[in-house]
């Protein structure tokens, strides 16, 4: 049996929930593949993995995977994940969110989960648009681009998700495109294994909404754009800000050891019991 078939049988609810809801050519499927390959490489038991999502195209991911899966309310995935993780720290909790989900309605929860540095992995599918509702502009839609609620053009500045996560205090932050799926596998694996709040910003495409409204071509054209514009962080360090304009800096942006909430809370328990 080929490796990918074995993984499908091992990790997907392949006999229950397929076909999936995503459009043909969507990058979410590439991320789904990366996610299960990364989890497989970590060697964790399926029983110990909890996948939590919010609402939107990204929110539908958990239903397809054979873990403990939780599809929550819009923007709130990290709050549910906080409860799961603190109630049972032995679980490995991974949240899947979209750009609108994590940055707009869930922006507050995102910065505070990072600030607490709770041991949860946050994977954000950034496709620069609200896809499921029909292509409205999101907090990551670049200035000047079109959307169904910005038919003239968007006049808002796009959020830099990874940079926000670094500032907010996450232990680990990385960014990768779905075009570089192999690199995405290893980035997600590192994020899952990292203790503390880890963020993986996944640059993906929505050719159905964002691509169509902005005449960016097919899914393949948009993947090629990712290939041509991704710059590894090591290379970016030697480039001028002008040369970096419009580029996607990929790789590990930060990997640091900061106090982890659960470990700090164990100290509080000891204090409360008069042990220290």
């Amino acid at each position: 049996m080929p490796e990918y078939t074995r993984l499908i049988h091992q990790y997907l609810r392949h006999d229950k929930k397929f076909p999936h809801v995503w459009c043909p050519g969507c990058g979410n499927g590439i991320l789904l593949g990366s996610l299960i390959r990364a989890i497989h490489q970590t060697g964790f038991s399926k029983d110990d993995i909890v996948i939590v999502s919010g609402i939107g195209c990204s929110g539908r991911l958990p239903v397809y995977v054979d873990f403990n899966t939780l599809h929550t309310t819009h923007g709130r995935a990290l709050t549910f994940a906080t409860g799961v993780k603190l109630a049972n720290p032995s679980l490995n909790v991974i949240t899947i969110m979209g750009d609108g989900d994590s940055m707009a309605i869930g922006g507050n929860h995102f910065v505070h989960a990072a600030r607490r540095n709770i041991d949860v992995t946050a994977i954000i599918l950034n496709n620069s648009i609200y896809g499921m509702t029909g292509g409205q502009y999101s907090p990551t839609t670049p200035y000047g681009m079109r959307a169904s609620t910005a038919v003239y053009n968007s006049i808002e500045q796009a959020f830099k998700i990874s940079e926000l996560a670094v500032t907010a205090g996450a232990s680990f932050v990385g960014r990768q495109t779905v075009y570089n799926a192999k690199l995405l596998d290893s980035l997600i694996k590192k994020a899952i294994l990292k203790r503390g709040f880890s963020v993986v910003e996944v640059i993906t495409h929505c050719h159905t909404q964002y691509g169509r409204q902005n005449r960016l071509g097919s899914a393949v054209d948009m993947l090629k754009w990712q290939r041509d514009n991704a710059v590894p962080v090591e290379k970016a360090a030697k480039m001028t800000p002008e040369a970096l304009k419009g580029k996607i800096i990929t790789g590990i942006l930060v990997d640091r050891d900061l106090p982890i909430y659960e470990e700090e809370y164990d100290k509080i328990r000891a204090k409360a019991k008069g042990l220290v």
């Binding site: 909890v50 239903v63 054979d66 709050t79 994940a81 906080t82 109630a87 049972n88």
Partner: protein
Amino acid sequence: MAKKDFRLLQGNEAIVEGAIAAGCRFFAGYPITPATEIAEGMSVKMPAVDGTFVQMEDEIGSMGAIIGASLAGVKSMTATSGPGFSLMQENIGFACITEVPCVIANIMRGGPSTGLPTNPSQSDLMQARWGTHGDHPIIVLAPHSVEECFSVTVKAFNLSERYRVPVILTADEVVAHMREKVELPPVESLEIIDRVHPTVPPDWYIPYEDNSLGVPPMPAFGDGYRYHVTGLVHDVRGFPTSRPDEVDSLIRRLHRKIDKGLDYIQEGESFLMDDAEVAIIAYSSVARSAKQAAILARENGQKVGVFRPITLWPFMRKAIEEILKNVRAVIVPEMNMGQYSREVKRVDQGYARIITLNRVDGQVITPDDIIRKLKEIY
């Protein structure tokens, strides 16, 4: 005999004690008057019992966190007041449809909006019932003393575990902030109910399969029963569906499990009701004034009794219908514009005269206020 555990406690403090006795080991909250003492108490006590306290960034997050903790197998609660309760409503609906046990204490202050943060009110009665969107049953309990803040909190956890529902524990600011001497019962003497865990092998587990109680067994994340939890309407396996027959049976089961349990869920106190000609129906702190008013009225030869619903929702229709049939008149004093009295009127088939007494000035309803109303009858 073990030494009795007498304490001078505030209502909010008794809620903390009751929750811990009931097995609560996770609290997430956000500061808000007049409920803050519950969070403060939990921050001290939770770590000492190997539980967890977390102060979230808002009440939306608090509600999400307690649902997550409950799914991980830990009894959980949050506490808030009107404005924060409004923020929690979306996720309360999530707990309703996913059938996640949890307890929400709502200490009522005056509203709408920021309103009267430090004054009592009973104006969240309908928010507790209908605050979240969609068709859903809800259990709302109202203690009227510090002692009951303990025992009713235990009951709230028991009902939430038994029926897999969020339970709202609601008290007005007076009950939450007053101090009384209470005797805390030994934990061993309490009836503590835990959610039913599946006993079938994981492969056979059907997460939302109907049974005689209408309440499916619930595993914790990590137990080996890997299942899907979604706020979408789901089939018995937990997967999203929009098939009319599957949608219908889920929504009806959510209602049926509460309807079938009414006798178990509903609890009220009758005070001097045996020969009463006039009944005062009151809850939370107003019930205390009502009892005093009944005692004073009887000194004047007026046969007045009090019925106090502890279970505010589901509405105690049977008990109240019975009262209406046996008295001349009913007074419903409330610190709102008539939220409970409207429900009493709904079940009245011309049995008795219903008199409302409403205070919305942020002040308590006194026994004198009720005595004055009695003059309209006698």
